[in-house]
Symmetry: C2
DNA sequence: CAAGGTCTGGCAGCAAGCTGCCATCCGGCC
DNA sequence: GGCCGGATGGCAGCTTGCTGCCAGACCTTG
């Protein structure tokens, strides 16, 4: 047996809305979206449609998931937007890897893919081919599961760590005792421990174990 | 502008080989593959084709990436297969999330998606639509980047952690002191510390900080 | 029942970590 | 010069973590 499915490619948001706008309004229970940052998908009409649906269905019955690149945390307005979306009931996560191409999966049965921005307008591809949708969704789930909630990225402890703190971090990571580490760094035991205490304060950790966890979270 | 691309759906491996077998032989520089485990993709002919191409192109010029679910590490024969593939020059990573649907991307221009096994034979979808390929590849990259090399899963520290050890881990992660934690878990101080010591041995950590790092590496 | 094993908890002692206090040193600044 | 704030290091004392040793509880095996 062999069958052929059709996939539709349109150029520009206007055309997408004209051609597939009704699909957004048809969302029933699941809306999954992966993109570099919220700005790449302005589409106010579609956003409103999804939001309405979310309110109408009530919590738990309608699931909205949004996956972004770390660049979505770059500026405050975008962060505020994420908080807003999150407060509205959507789950927002950040993937460590870039997501150059926008992907939307609706109700596990429809996929919309967006290419990079182009002068003639962005290219959008829409398909409902079951195996394509299943394959894309499978990869989306994999990327989703290995990403973390955007709130866990926000505290922003990492930038405050200077080279000195990094050295202490490395010493701690090596598993050396304070005495060994302090000698290696050319510090007195007292000062080294002061540094460790400072580091733990910065990491908001109550124990060294917890500090290790946090440090790993922030990428060692 | 609106265009329609064709995607081809076939049922069963035989039909896939007949219809798209030549595509495997056409691999030039990049072969990316995501699957639950190596067994789901037997296809000896295709594997051989890729292997030949890998040898012919030489190292660095031809990239093979394979992404599997943790279930690929479940039994020793499969692990041995991973080591073999890895030794042949392919990069093998394990994603924390399940990958129920097989995905293959060839030379960043061709996508093959496989559905779940079915009595009538598995369904395969082949497409070369640029935006579809780009979208799938984008998600693949995201899943790939957030996954780790399979060798880092092999030491097998994770499986040895029973529910008891998990509880200790959580207590440590909470930042509580040993006394608080032991009371919370209904253990004596002595036993709790024994558990912590066992955990650190299992994690091959010399300090609690290091144990925290390792624990985070293995996914808390 | 006895003998052996494993798991547990208490005790003790040591090692490691944590911190307050103070003396010191090294800038900048009036 | 004198003064000051900040960083450093030594000291002391406390808390916490770590482990060896032994005793008891429990289970399995003979």
């Amino acid at each position: 047996m062999e069958t052929t499915d059709r996939i539709i490619t349109v150029r520009g948001e206007d055309e997408l809305v004209a051609r597939a706008g009704h699909l957004f309004a048809s969302v029933r229970e699941d809306f999954a979206c992966a993109a570099r940052d919220p700005d790449t998908w302005s589409q106010p009409a579609a956003q409103a449609a999804v939001r309405d649906r979310m309110r109408a269905a009530g919590p738990g019955r309608f699931e909205v998931r949004k996956l972004f690149s770390p660049s979505a945390l770059a500026d405050e307005p975008t962060r505020a937007h994420l908080r807003e979306v999150s407060a509205a009931g959507a789950r927002v996560r950040i993937s460590a890897a870039p997501l150059p191409h926008e992907t939307i999966v609706i109700d596990r049965r429809l996929v919309i893919l967006a290419g990079p921005a182009a002068p003639a307008g962005r290219e959008y591809t829409v398909t409902s081919s079951p195996s394509l949708v299943a394959g894309v969704l499978s990869l989306f789930e994999a990327a989703w599961e290995t990403s973390r909630d955007f709130t866990s990225w926000l505290p922003g402890d990492l930038p405050h760590l200077d080279g000195d703190a990094r050295a202490v971090l490395r010493a701690l990571a090596s598993g050396a005792t304070d005495e060994t580490a302090s000698r290696r760094l050319g510090l007195s035991l007292r000062t080294y421990r002061r540094r460790v205490a400072d580091l733990m304060t910065a990491l908001q950790a109550d124990s060294r174990f917890q500090a290790g966890l946090r440090a790993a979270d922030f990428g060692l």
